[in-house]
């Protein structure tokens, strides 16, 4: 299934910081067919470094989508039954307006002049896209990590438009540990002399800083077990005695490879803006408490966490579930056993597929 990224353009978007972004472009992809009463639409929300290319083979790059194992005919998000959409988030660098986009006021990339963005801003832009496509209610919203935050925000902000939500390996707000890792990543980017205060679009990007930031990220996405299994202490073949600071171990090689690869597809300023939006996100903002925020939602929930995920530990999913239960809302919760750490929602999809597939089928039946 070859897919092409599409673009929607909007005159403007009002942001939480008080500024207005104008104009705004959203990159998105769709899979499956929208039914006649438009009741089968599912919005899939990507995590921090993802993009609109969630499934199928990209017409442009020839690569499969980031959740291709979950979205497609007869998969968890069954495209023979549902109309699945995914859009690149606000502040991103994969087609949607972000710090790398040209500021019409100056004719140059925004860079650090891009306004501060929030998760609710991202969601507001997604709502514009959904409205633009003439969809009034979403059968479901699902995403892992930051995608889960957006799903929660949707359910609270637009209760009438959300039939169900599936936040996976997510949280209603970051812990000190999560903020700490993001801060180390940001400092790595900003301490690279090539960052130049965010104004690097005419020269070399801060590749060293960004790749170090990504290396740290990858450590937090794995687990002790999965790293032991994948790399152990296996060494790289050595021709001569090294000076001690070359790549000796497979794990070093992997991290450097991932860091280097990331630089080619991701904008350092997007890294800064999006991680800040994640850190600042708190679903209870403006409502006083998580419970008060979730009291607004009318959605059914399926909440999933993974046993070895130490970046978004199960207790964070359980906080959400407990608050939902406090209102006796319809919520199913499961901690799936996995060794893959936070990455599990992208990799270990066997059991996740069963849960999502049947939850959706049941939701669709009830909503009909």
């Amino acid at each position: 299934m070859t897919v092409e990224t599409q673009f929607a353009h909007f005159d403007s978007l009002s942001l939480d910081c008080g500024e207005t972004l104008a104009p705004v472009t959203v990159a998105y992809e769709t899979y499956g067919e929208l039914n006649r009463d438009k009741s089968n639409a599912i919005l899939v929300l990507h995590a921090f470094s993802g993009d609109a290319h969630a499934a199928g083979i990209s017409h442009e790059t020839g690569k499969p989508g980031w959740w291709d194992n979950m979205i497609g005919p007869h998969k968890a998000f069954d495209t023979t039954r549902y109309f699945v959409l995914c859009s690149n988030i606000l502040g991103g660098c994969r087609g949607t307006t972000g710090p790398g986009s040209v500021n019409p006021a100056t004719g140059r990339p925004y860079g650090a002049g891009f306004p501060v963005i929030t998760v609710p801003d991202m969601v507001r832009l997604q709502k514009k896209l959904i409205d633009h496509l003439g969809i009034r209610r979403l059968l479901s919203l699902s995403g892992g990590s930051m995608g889960g935050m957006q799903a929660l925000q949707w359910a609270v902000e637009y209760p009438e438009a959300v039939v169900s939500a599936i936040p996976i390996a997510s949280t209603f707000r970051h812990s000190a540990q999560q903020i700490a890792f993001n801060e180390v990543g940001r400092m790595a980017v900003m301490s690279d002399p090539d960052w130049k205060g965010g104004d690097y679009y005419d020269s070399d990007p801060p590749a060293r800083g960004l790749s170090v930031a990504r290396m740290i990220g990858h450590i937090t996405y794995m687990s002790d077990d999965s790293m032991r299994e994948k790399f152990g202490r296996r060494q790289r073949p050595k021709e001569e005695l090294s000076n001690g600071f070359s790549v000796d171990f497979e794990v070093e090689n992997y991290l450097r490879y991932r860091g280097g690869e990331f630089v080619n597809r991701f904008d350092a300023n997007s890294y800064l803006y999006i991680t800040k939006a994640m850190d600042n996100f708190d679903l209870s903002n403006g409502y006083g408490s998580l419970s008060a925020a979730l009291a607004r939602t009318k959605a059914r929930f399926l909440v999933i966490s993974f046993s070895s995920d130490w970046l978004y530990p199960s207790y964070q999913s359980q906080e959400i579930v407990r608050a939902l239960r406090g209102h006796n809302l319809d919520v199913a919760y499961c901690e799936l056993p996995s060794n893959y750490g936070h990455d599990a929602f992208l990799i270990e999809v066997g059991e996740q597929t069963e849960l999502v597939k049947h939850f959706l089928a049941n939701t669709f039946k009830k909503a009909a």
Partner: protein, 209 residues
């Protein structure tokens, strides 16, 4: 009893395979809100949702079983019964069911009180430790009883708080509970005399005063 009801009873027994489930499914009113604690694979909840159109919720500790429940479309929460009810508001369910699990909880009295807080009515089914076979097994072997009803070795038994019919009766008095129904079973047979001696399983429908 009409033929139709008898037929339904036989059907329930056949489908659910457990006589306490058959009784419980009769006690639950159609269209009610039900919470099943220790709901296993969700067979009872699924049956109640389908046939009695109840709003079904469950709590189960085993992730594999929770997956099976969710796969049936049930809203089940993976968690521990001993701690799991605290989040629910008061009296938010019509029926809270605890089927053959009370003896496995760490703090059974606390669980029972929590059930009565969140549910208007509580259905408790438990294996009767006072059954004659248990008494005989203990008397004859001098060892922790091992019977068809309690088939475990003492060291790997999930049952940590044994109780008899009389024990539960005493508790309902001490806790000032109204017993609306008490049903005693041996297999699918209903026991009318000497339940503490003859019943393998007891099912109680209780509520607060």
């Amino acid at each position: 009893m009409t033929t139709a009801v008898q037929h339904e009873k036989a059907f329930v027994r056949q489908v659910l395979g457990r006589s306490d489930y058959a009784i419980i499914s009769e006690l639950v009113e159609p269209g009610s809100k039900v919470l099943d604690l220790g709901c296993g694979d969700g067979e009872l909840l699924a049956w109640l949702a389908e046939n009695k159109k109840v709003t079904a919720r469950g709590v189960e500790i085993s992730p594999v079983r929770v997956q099976r429940c969710i796969a049936q479309g049930l809203s089940v929460y993976q968690g521990d019964i001993d701690a799991g009810l605290a989040d629910y508001p008061d009296q938010c369910f019509d029926f809270v069911i605890l089927s053959q699990t009370l003896q496995e909880t760490h703090r059974p009295l606390n669980v029972l009180r929590e059930m009565l807080r969140v549910g208007r009515r509580v259905i408790v089914a438990f294996p009767n430790f006072g059954h004659w076979s248990m008494r005989l097994s203990m008397l004859l072997t001098g060892r922790a009883p091992k019977t068809k009803l309690f088939p475990y070795e003492w060291y790997d038994s999930p049952n940590i708080h044994f109780l008899t019919v009389e024990d539960f009766e005493d508790l309902t008095v001490a806790e000032n509970l109204v017993v609306e129904r008490r049903i005693f079973l041996h297999g699918s047979r209903s026991i009318r005399m000497l339940p503490n001696l003859l019943a393998a399983v007891a099912v109680y429908l209780v509520r607060k005063q």
